[in-house]
C-alpha cells in the first residue's frame, strides 16, 4: 500500500483493513489457541480474552505514552488495552502478529540499552526516547491507531472507560442538539445573520 502523503487518516485507516485475503482462512487455530491462553489473563483487574497479562502490561505502558495520564486519565486508565483485546480477537491475526513481533523487537531494544528487558519497567523519559526511534514503524502506527481508536470508541468495546476519551475531547454523546452549536454560529444569530 502506498502511503498517501497528505491524508494521514486514510493511511491509518488502512493499517487495520488491508488484510491479505488468506487471513480469514488462517484465523481459527490462532483464535482458539489464544482463547485458551486468555482465560487466565487480566490487566488492572479486568479479564482479557485474547492477550496475555504480560504483553497487555507492555501494550498498556506504550499506550500510556501515546495518551499519557495527567490531570485526566491516560490511555491505560481509559481501558484501551481491553479495547485492543476486543478488536484483535475478532479475526485480526495479522495485526496481532504484527504487534507481538513489534513488541519483541522493542524489548530487544530495551534489553540492549538498559539493565532491564521490559519496556514497562523504564522511566517515562526513557520510554519516550525509544518510541521516538520507532515512531515511523508499522508496529508503532498500529498500536498508536488502536490506542486512539480505543480511547474514543463506544465504551462497550472496552476502552473509553467512564467516557474518559470523550471528556478529553469535549464530546458529549447526545442524540439531540439545538443550535447554536458553538461560538461563531451563536455570534451570527446574535448579529442577525452577519
Amino acid at each position: 500500500m502506498e502511503p498517501h502523503p497528505l491524508s494521514r487518516r486514510d493511511l491509518l485507516k488502512n493499517t487495520l483493513s488491508a488484510l491479505p485475503r488468506s487471513a480469514i482462512a488462517l484465523s481459527l487455530p490462532a483464535i482458539l489457541a489464544a482463547c485458551s491462553r486468555a482465560a487466565r489473563n487480566e490487566l488492572d483487574g479486568a479479564a482479557l480474552q485474547l492477550l496475555g497479562g504480560e504483553e497487555a502490561e507492555e501494550f498498556a505502558a506504550i499506550a500510556d505514552r501515546i495518551i499519557p495520564p495527567d490531570d485526566t486519565p491516560g490511555a491505560r486508565e481509559a481501558g484501551v488495552v481491553h479495547f485492543m483485546d476486543t478488536v484483535l480477537a475478532d479475526q485480526r491475526e495479522r495485526e496481532l502478529e504484527l504487534l507481538r513481533e513489534g513488541l519483541g523487537q522493542l524489548q530487544q531494544l530495551v534489553a540492549g540499552r538498559f539493565p532491564v528487558d521490559r519496556f514497562s519497567l523504564l522511566e517515562s523519559g526513557q520510554q519516550d526516547e525509544l518510541l521516538r526511534e520507532i515512531e515511523d514503524s508499522e508496529f508503532f502506527a498500529t498500536i498508536r491507531f488502536l490506542t486512539v481508536a480505543g480511547m474514543f470508541a463506544l465504551p462497550e468495546y472496552g476502552g473509553n472507560r467512564d467516557l474518559a476519551g470523550w471528556d478529553l475531547l469535549g464530546f458529549e454523546n447526545r442524540s439531540v442538539w439545538q443550535p447554536p452549536f458553538g461560538y461563531y454560529d451563536e455570534d451570527y444569530m446574535n448579529q442577525g445573520g452577519r
Binding site: 497528505l6 501515546i66 499519557p68 519516550d128 475531547l169 454523546n173 443550535p179
Partner: protein
C-alpha cells in the same frame, strides 16, 4: 408491511437489482404502476432503531460498507501496467436496503444546464471521452423537483441556482459555526456562501420528523429518519403496493439471456448461499457505478462474449470519482462542527473554471468538520490535523483543542471520463462465491488534479480571510485510490458505439434490460451526484412504465 411473495419460476414483470438511491425509486415507481416487482439486495433491511453512534463498527469494522472480511474483496491499481492489489474502500458503498443513500451526507446539488452540454459549449478535451449528455437540464428538472418533494430536500433557491419549477419543500438547515466562518471568509473576498441543499429534513415532511442535529450523518444511518434515504422514503411505499417483494441478503451473480438475446432471469445467491434464479420479463440493474458494470461483465455468454450489453466496449469505462481538497483551520473559539449535519453553506463561485487557466474543471467549496464525519474517534486519529505531534503530552493537549475548535473548507470537483479509468474483473482474486473480484484502475487526469489544487488554494484564502490561526491544506496529489462516487461506467448516449444505455436507460444491446445509477452519468457533476442519480431514476421509471404500457419492452 411484508409485501408480496413470488416464486422464482414465476415470471415477474421486473427484477430490480439493488435497492439504493436509484433502485429504491425505480422499484417503488414500477410497483405503484401495478407491475409485479422483485427487488434483490445484497445486504439486510436495517432501520432507524438499528443505528448507533458506533464509529468503530462504522469506519473500521465496515458494518455497512463491508469488505474482504465478508468475502467481498476489491483490488486497485493506478494504471493498466500494474498488478492490482487487494484493498479496502476502493469502491466504497453501503450494503443494505437504501444502499449508500442510507449512509451518505445528503449534499443534494442539482446539476446546472451547463453540465449537460459542456463539451459542446467549452469544447471536447483530447485524450478524454468528455461529451454532452443526450438530455438537457430541462428534461431532468421535473424529476429533480420530484426528488425535492418525494424524497425530501431542504434548501433555499439562490440567484445562480438553475431554474426550478417548485420551491424546496423544507427551508435550509440551521447554519453551523464552520459555515459561518466560510461565509465570513467568502464575504471578505467578494464571494458568496449560500445555504447548501441537503437531503435531510429541516422540518416535518411526508410524515417524517426533522433532523435533531446529532452529528452522525456521514457513514451512519439516521436514527430518527430525518435523512432522506430510499430505505425510508421509497421502500415502505413499494411494500405497501402488495405486488412488490424485497429479497434481502441476495447477491446477484448473473443476468441470464434467452435464445433471442433478451434478459430472461436473474441468478443470485440467497441468504443461505443457495443459488437461485428469478424469471422476469424485464430487468433493471441499479447496483451502483462499480457493481453494475461488474455484473454485466460477469454475465458474458457466447452471444455476449465481452459482457452483457457491451458491444461498445464502454461497460466499466469512464469511471469518475469526483475530486476533492481538504483545508482545515484552527480557530480561537469553539466551532463545534461535530454537531449538526456535515455542511450548511456552499460557495459556488467556481462552478466553471475560467478556460484561460489552461485546464478543465469546476466545483464548489463547503464548510465542514476537518474529518468529514465530524465524529470523535475519526477526529482523534487524525490529530494533530495541523502538523503538530501525533502522540504524547502535547498530542493530548491538541486533542483537547482541535476537535472543538476546527473547521474545514472542502473542495468538491469534477473528474474527466477516461478509457484508462475503469472497472474490470480481477484475473486472480475471487469473492466468497468464486466470482472474479471487482478490479478498479484509476489515476486522476492532470486537469482533475489541477482543479483539486485550484480549489485547495481558494480554500486556503477563504480560511485566512475567516481568521484561522493554523491551517492545514491537502488534496490527493498522487491520485485518488478510492471513492464513494462511482460514476460514468455505463454511460448514457444516443450512439451505441460510444455509450451503453440510450437516453431512456435502455441498454442499446438488450431491449428488456435497463440500467440506472451513477454508471449512467456522462459527466461527473461538481462532486455531489446523488441528487442527479435520484432524478434520473424517477425519469427512467416513468419511461420504463410508459414502454411497458405500450408493450414496447
Amino acid at each position: 408491511m411484508a409485501g408480496a411473495t413470488f416464486q422464482t419460476r414465476e415470471e415477474v414483470d421486473f427484477v430490480v437489482v439493488g435497492s439504493g438511491a436509484a433502485g429504491g425509486i425505480i422499484a417503488r415507481e414500477l410497483a405503484e404502476a401495478g407491475h409485479s416487482v422483485v427487488q434483490l439486495e445484497q445486504g439486510p433491511h436495517l432501520q432507524a432503531a438499528d443505528f448507533r453512534h458506533d464509529e468503530w463498527g462504522t469506519f473500521f469494522n465496515n458494518d455497512l460498507t463491508w469488505n474482504h472480511r465478508r468475502g467481498r474483496p476489491q483490488t486497485f491499481r493506478k494504471t493498466a501496467g500494474e498488478t492490482a492489489t487487494p484493498r479496502d474502500r476502493v469502491c466504497n458503498y453501503a450494503h443494505n436496503v437504501g444502499g449508500s443513500s442510507l449512509h451518505f451526507s445528503g449534499n443534494f446539488w442539482r446539476l446546472r444546464p451547463i453540465d449537460f452540454m459542456e463539451a459542446s459549449v467549452r469544447g471536447t478535451i483530447p485524450g478524454t471521452n468528455f461529451a454532452d449528455w443526450p438530455i438537457r437540464y430541462e428534461n431532468l428538472e421535473p424529476y429533480y423537483t420530484r426528488v425535492d418533494w418525494e424524497v425530501g430536500v431542504s434548501g433555499l433557491q439562490g440567484p445562480w441556482d438553475p431554474p426550478r419549477s417548485r420551491d424546496y419543500p423544507c427551508p435550509p438547515m440551521a447554519v453551523k459555526g464552520s459555515d459561518v466562518l466560510l461565509e465570513r471568509g467568502a464575504r471578505a473576498l467578494g464571494y458568496t456562501a449560500y445555504p447548501a441543499p441537503v437531503a435531510i429534513l429541516s422540518r416535518p415532511h411526508n410524515g417524517r420528523p426533522p433532523c435533531v442535529h446529532c452529528g452522525f450523518c456521514l457513514g451512519f444511518g439516521c436514527e430518527v429518519n430525518a435523512k432522506s434515504s430510499t430505505m425510508i422514503t421509497m421502500i415502505p411505499a413499494a411494500l405497501a403496493t402488495g405486488n412488490y417483494e424485497l429479497r434481502t441478503h441476495c447477491t446477484v451473480s448473473r443476468v441470464e439471456t434467452d435464445e433471442n438475446g433478451r434478459a430472461s432471469e436473474v441468478s443470485y445467491f440467497d441468504a443461505g448461499d443457495n443459488e437461485q434464479s428469478q424469471r422476469a420479463r424485464a430487468v433493471v440493474i441499479c447496483a451502483n457505478g462499480a457493481e453494475t458494470p461488474r455484473l454485466l461483465l460477469l454475465s458474458d455468454s457466447a452471444r455476449f462474449p465481452d459482457g452483457l450489453a457491451n458491444s461498445s466496449g464502454f461497460v466499466g469505462r469512464n469511471l469518475m470519482f469526483n475530486g476533492y481538497s481538504e483545508v482545515s483551520g484552527l480557530f480561537p473559539e469553539p466551532v463545534n462542527a461535530h454537531k449538526g449535519i456535515p455542511a450548511t453553506r456552499v460557495v459556488h463561485d467556481w462552478y466553471e473554471l475560467d478556460p484561460n487557466l489552461g485546464f478543465y474543471g469546476g466545483g464548489g467549496i463547503d464548510g465542514r468538520h476537518p474529518v468529514r464525519s465530524g465524529t470523535p474517534m475519526e477526529s482523534a486519529i487524525a490529530t494533530s490535523m495541523f502538523d503538530g505531534p501525533t502522540w504524547g503530552s502535547e498530542f493530548k493537549a491538541r486533542l483537547r483543542q482541535e476537535f472543538t475548535h476546527s473547521a474545514a473548507f472542502d473542495g468538491h470537483t469534477t473528474s474527466l471520463p477516461l478509457d484508462s479509468n475503469n472497472i474490470t474483473l480481477d484475473p486472480e482474486l475471487r469473492d466468497r462465491w468464486g466470482r472474479p473480484a471487482l478490479r478498479c484502475t484509476y489515476m486522476d487526469h492532470p486537469d482533475d488534479l489541477a482543479t483539486m489544487r485550484y480549489f485547495m488554494d481558494r480554500s486556503v484564502e477563504l480560511m485566512e480571510a475567516a481568521g484561522a490561526v493554523e491551517i492545514h491544506a491537502s488534496y490527493p496529489e498522487t491520485g485518488q485510490e478510492g471513492s464513494s462516487h462511482m460514476l460514468g461506467t455505463c454511460r448514457m448516449g444516443d450512439d451505441p458505439a460510444t455509450s451503453v444505455i440510450d437516453r431512456y436507460h435502455r441498454t442499446h444491446d438488450v431491449p428488456n434490460l435497463f440500467l440506472c445509477d451513477g454508471s449512467s452519468m456522462v459527466t461527473s457533476s461538481r462532486g455531489q451526484p446523488t441528487m442527479t442519480i435520484m432524478a434520473l431514476a424517477f425519469r427512467a421509471a416513468e419511461h420504463i412504465n410508459e414502454f411497458a404500457r405500450r408493450n414496447e419492452i
